[in-house]
């Protein structure tokens, strides 16, 4: 990143917000009115504290790199000038990377915004450097973590009409959003796990998405983290040895729009106990291993509290096996 931008020379100027043009490559799509209201009040009270970033193009126009919301508020407040850091025109790829880095470090964009920016970066990277960057290079150049990049890729892979649905939702106040980015991220992760193990669902994945979105709107899917239980259901044949046909029946219920059972209900009915058993099994193994090691050392060197717990466990087990 530093190498890419090393030739940039910055100067601080006072510029009229009316002569600043929006960056055609700025993927910031959503200007939530509540956030604009807060910013407007803040600027009315204390002014613009952080300069916007612009570059001067070959025609002498100032083009925004960072500060779209501040510039919009400044116009709204009829400010005659605002502070701006001016730099030379970057290449299209540098331009995108600059915007991405600024927002990864300071002002968080929505994931969809980052994803759309990333899509353009990937395209330009291929053109400018002849090859697509790997996840690690992309992470270094954009300032995004690899996890963030993966989440963006998940959003880029959903069909466009779902992205449009998400865009409408993102215009709303955060507390009013039902079909959120997190919803899509969790759902897509779970559906990937399902499709990998039950490829028969792949053909109807859009219908499944529609059902899950409907169930979310109806409140049947209460928390987006319920999808993690869906993943656990789908992976249970390999993890805990559940029969595939039992899981297929459970998945059919989840993907049936007329079935009003929650994912949690179906999880509890099918695999919850088996997962609990597995978890306990792992813990028992750990206790057994510890006891084996403890036998090699003196028992009185074990922490008193732990020893008391072990004794309690001993009496309980003794009672169970005696009965």
């Amino acid at each position: 990143m530093a190498k890419l931008l090393s030739h940039q020379h910055l100067s601080l100027k006072q510029i009229s917000p009316d002569v600043i043009q929006s960056n055609p490559d700025n993927p910031r799509l959503f200007f939530r009115p509540e956030e604009m209201e807060e910013l407007e009040v803040s600027i009315q009270k204390i002014g613009i504290q952080v300069p916007v970033s612009v570059f001067e193009d070959i025609n002498g126009n100032f083009v925004l790199i960072d500060g779209e919301r501040r510039t919009r508020c400044a116009r709204k407040l009829n400010l005659h000038t605002i502070p701006a850091l001016v730099q030379k025109q970057p290449s299209p790829l540098q331009n995108l990377l600059l915007m991405s880095s600024i927002h990864a470090l300071r002002e968080k964009w929505d994931y969809l915004t980052i994803a759309l920016n990333l899509e353009k970066i990937l395209l330009l990277y291929g053109k400018e450097k002849g090859e697509k960057p790997n996840e690690s290079t992309l992470s270094k150049d954009t300032g995004l973590s690899r996890g963030q990049i993966r989440r963006c890729m998940l959003l880029l892979n959903i069909p466009s009409h779902y992205r449009d649905e998400l865009k409408i939702e993102l215009e709303k106040k955060k507390s009013d959003q039902v079909i959120t980015e997190d919803f899509f991220l969790e759902m897509e992760g779970a559906l990937r796990a399902v499709n990998r193990r039950f490829p028969e669902y792949e053909e109807s994945v859009d219908e499944i998405r529609d059902v899950l979105i409907k169930k979310r709107r109806e409140g049947i899917i209460g928390a987006v983290t319920d999808f993690r239980k869906l993943t656990k259901i789908a992976t249970s044949p390999e993890n805990i040895g559940t029969e595939r046909r039992t899981i297929k029946r459970a998945l059919d219920q989840i993907f049936n729009s007329n079935n009003k059972s929650t994912i949690e209900d179906i999880y509890n009915e099918t695999v919850q106990f088996a997962y609990a058993e597995k978890r306990i099994g792992v813990q028992v193994s750990a206790v057994t291993k510890f006891i084996d090691e403890a036998l090699l050392i003196k028992v009185d060197s074990i922490d008193e509290e732990l020893l008391a717990e072990l004794k309690g466990l001993y009496f309980k087990l003794k009672k169970i096996f005696k009965d």
Binding site: P33, E37, V41, K45, R72, R75, N78, H80
Partner: protein, 279 residues
């Protein structure tokens, strides 16, 4: 400017109100443009309702957010005859908080448009030029000592004022005029004045009162009423020729309304002391 560069939220709510206002006023409506260079506010839409009166409407999330209060203060200091409207969604208006904010907006002299989900704009209540605005608490303090019946008539005039200040000034003049003729009627019954005074225009009728010996002690109040008629009675009918004149006229409306209440109060109190109880 056009709607193309506006936020989708501003456009969704601003455009229906723009159509609403255009249908009624047939004026060029400007979008996101400055009214005056010195005024640090660009309303979502505005137009010049008359040569010296501006109606501006701003899209907001709720009826009366903090930014609009700050804007009102700026306009009050800018000496411009601007009427402010807030534009918000019908959903935001219908919440309990929305209702509370709408009442507060009204109390500050601003109007409200709401826009339904299907894009229909409704004017919930009108605003008045900010420079004319009289806070309710200030008005209540002014009429606190006035008899109930007369206070009720002044209240009606205040309602008119809050819709159109110049009409409100005419209305307060009418209240004073009614009281003067009521007093003359009572004086005729008492044999203090002759019937001819009741048919005269207001100014000569007041002159007749001033010349009546039973009203000698009321000279100051009668003079006050005469002064009000001379100074403010025709405020509504005089068209300003310059923006400054317009500002003065609008400021005069507020002064005139208060002067009218004062003249009424003094007049009824003076009549009461001379033995005529006005209701």
């Amino acid at each position: 400017m056009s709607w193309d560069t506006a936020n989708p939220h501003d456009r969704a709510l601003g455009e229906p109100v723009q159509s609403f206002l255009f249908k009624r006023h047939r004026k060029l409506i400007k979008i996101n443009e400055e009214i005056e260079s010195s005024l640090s506010w660009r309303p979502t839409i505005y137009f010049e309702a008359s040569e010296f009166s501006i109606i501006a409407a701003d899209v907001k999330v709720t009826p009366f957010p903090e930014s609009l209060m700050l804007t009102k203060t700026k306009i009050a200091n800018a000496h411009l005859p601007i009427t402010i409207y807030s534009i918000c969604s019908e959903d935001a208006f219908l919440t309990r908080e929305g209702q509370r904010e709408a009442n507060e907006l009204k109390a500050h002299g601003m109007g409200l448009f709401t826009v339904s989900v299907d894009g229909v704009a409704t004017k919930q209540f009108s605003g008045i030029p900010i420079i004319n605005h009289i806070p309710v608490a200030e008005f209540d303090a002014y009429i606190s000592g006035i008899p109930k019946g007369i206070a009720s008539r002044i209240n009606d005039a205040f309602d008119s004022y809050n819709s159109t200040p110049t009409v409100g000034v005419t209305a307060i003049s009418d209240v004073l005029e009614g009281l003067v003729y009521d007093a003359i009627g009572a004086a005729i019954k008492k044999g203090w004045m002759t019937k001819s005074s009741a048919t005269k225009m207001l100014a000569p009728a007041l002159d007749d009162m001033a010349g009546t010996k039973e009203f000698k002690a009321c000279a100051a109040a009668i003079g006050g009423a005469r002064g009000f008629i001379k100074g403010y009675r025709n405020t509504a009918n005089h068209n300003p020729r310059t923006r400054k004149a317009a500002y003065n006229k609008y400021v005069k409306c507020k002064q005139a309304f208060f002067a009218g209440i004062q003249a009424i109060d003094s007049f009824q109190a003076a009549m009461k002391s001379s033995g005529i109880r006005l209701k």
